[in-house]
Symmetry: C2
Subunit: 346 residues, 2 copies
């Protein structure tokens, strides 16, 4: 899917040449950035508390270059990290990007990847301040560290939920997972007959949710404007069920959510049906939505109930209770984490 007419070998530039080439396009915007790329370390001047999170993406485990454009991959690598800062209720400001690539990558391919990184940096107002590059004997991998800033009173951990708190989720769920199913299906069709063109028609929304997700910095701002500090928050990377259990377990409480309250896009629903999958299961267990799951005090119900893009899906229950789903038919099901495990023997 990704082609270049030009091809410059990275070995020609060497590591220093490559870094010089990549970094010349970096623009720094934050007053907190005292020194960016180019020395032994970057220098920052944060006035509030510092948030730091790191994420890794490995070829063949987290992404498949047969259907992932490198620009999208660069964009997504930044977004998944920014999302972790959102999950703390903070503002992401700085990022370091390290990549390992094999010799099969040309300079133009690396440029594509970084054009996606820089696009995300522009959109999310983030300064790229460091990183590392290396060749690898095998596949590609990406390691990103993001830093953000937060007022101490705004910090939102996973463990602060209280009994009767409302459980909220932003956007809609399960779409990224269904996008992945489409891409995997078309990959296997292509493998069996390369002459067949991929059938992606009408699937734009769920494909974009998989290939080019967004972090909900907008929702962090909405909550801030409403002066609501969630009691607990997490971003949905492994699936709603798994994240719900993190909040409940770490808060020492249980929870109940309602199937008919769960936000799902019609295209996600239809595509799940097309694949003969249960839409609710896809929504609960499909990961990579990068939406925010959070709990708020009941007193905020009026303020939040009409906010577009926020769904109230249930509430926190008493200690030692577990997590339950009330189905559309009124039955109570225990939720088990079907979170994603990169070490599983598939």
């Amino acid at each position: 899917m990704f082609e270049n007419s030009e091809r410059t070998e990275i070995s020609k530039l060497g590591e220093f040449g490559l870094i010089k080439h990549i970094t010349q396009k970096i623009k720094l915007n934050h007053p907190e950035t005292i020194k960016g790329v180019g020395d032994d370390a970057a220098v920052l001047n944060y006035k509030k508390h510092t948030l730091i999170s790191t994420d890794m993406l490995v070829e063949g485990i987290h992404f498949d270059l047969t259907y992932t454009p490198l620009k999208h991959l660069g964009y997504k690598s930044v977004v998944v990290n920014v999302s972790d800062i959102c999950a703390m209720n903070g503002i992401a400001k700085h990022i370091t990007v390290s990549i390992g690539i094999s010799n099969r990558f040309s300079l133009e391919a690396v440029e594509e990847f970084y054009s996606g990184v820089l696009l995300a940096c522009e959109k999310y107002k983030i300064d790229l301040i460091g990183g590392d590059t290396s060749s690898t004997p095998g596949g590609m991998f990406i390691s990103i560290t993001v830093l953000g800033e937060i007022e101490p009173t705004q910090i939102t951990y996973r463990n602060g939920a209280n009994e009767n708190d409302l459980i909220c989720v932003t956007g809609d769920l399960g779409a990224a997972y269904m996008g992945l199913q489409i891409l995997e299906r078309e990959k296997s069709v292509y493998k069996s007959n390369p002459a067949i063109q991929p059938d992606l028609e009408g699937k734009d929304y769920i494909l974009e949710r998989q290939l080019k997700p967004e972090a909900r910095t907008d929702m962090v701002q909405v909550l801030s404007k409403l002066k609501i500090v969630p009691t607990a928050m997490i971003d949905i990377s492994d699936g709603l069920a798994s994240e719900l259990m993190h909040i409940a377990e770490q808060s020492g409480l249980g929870c109940v959510i309602y199937e008919d309250k769960l936000p799902i896009d019609p295209l996600t629903y239809e595509t799940a049906r097309e694949f003969k999958l249960d839409p609710t299961t896809c929504l609960l267990s499909g990961g990579e939505d990068y939406e925010l799951l959070f709990t708020i005090q009941q007193k905020h119900f009026e303020a939040i109930k009409n906010i577009k893009e926020i769904s109230i899906i249930g509430h926190i229950t008493e200690a030692n209770d577990t997590c339950h789903l009330i189905s559309k038919g009124g039955q109570k099901h225990k939720i088990t984490a079907q979170g994603w495990n990169s070490f599983a023997n598939n």
Copy 2:
């Protein structure tokens, strides 16, 4: 070289289980650590400026598991990052460690790696506050981000050297490179005949310099006690020649160093001779010493001249001059960077 009687498969624990297992041994010491591992991001409270640097180590490129014990690898991974903070004249305080490992690794192997990481954290008083783990389809890789703190007036960049500044280096150079030559030689002997035991006798010092280097936090403290802020500083990871050129180029100046002032351990010298290599070339171009190279104003000469472990090797010269070495015979040679390039086609 590395064997375990027990073998627990990582796939049994899964990613969450593995993280839980690793993180239970972490001890947090710094008052700046508000929240360590266990949420979407760690929370820090730095009062001064923040330093941040990141480094990657890739199997088959930066390390060879046939002769690198995993515990040493974990230790070294931390040290090379701490060294970058030293090179800014700062104090390393926090670290995140991400690793990619294949299924051939057992839980016990991962524990060995982390025991080295934690040993270094203990020695250098660093809090491990985050990271990521993933399986990989191929080799192992490590990505570490280190954070440190520094008073704005103490920050030492690479570009601050002035004409006539003295050029200083800590410790001795070239040892890590000669240690690597020994290990590579014994590896090829072993490959041709596995019955032959490796001949490492008497080479302890240079092997340790390669396998278990240290960061010069002690030298940062010495300078601080003397109230000397270097005008420029860098750590020697790619080799003295390459680092000298970084300081000279970024400062827009030249430099001259004297062969007879260069610090070399007798064992490094002898081993270079044994390999029929020129000791000075090994010292200039061999990397991974993790010593500090810095420049100071001439007025500090008296304060520094008798400091054990600091050698004054030359001085900074006028703009647009290049870097030169005055040989023991009095000849002037232009220095070219023989720094290490992971993208070179070997």
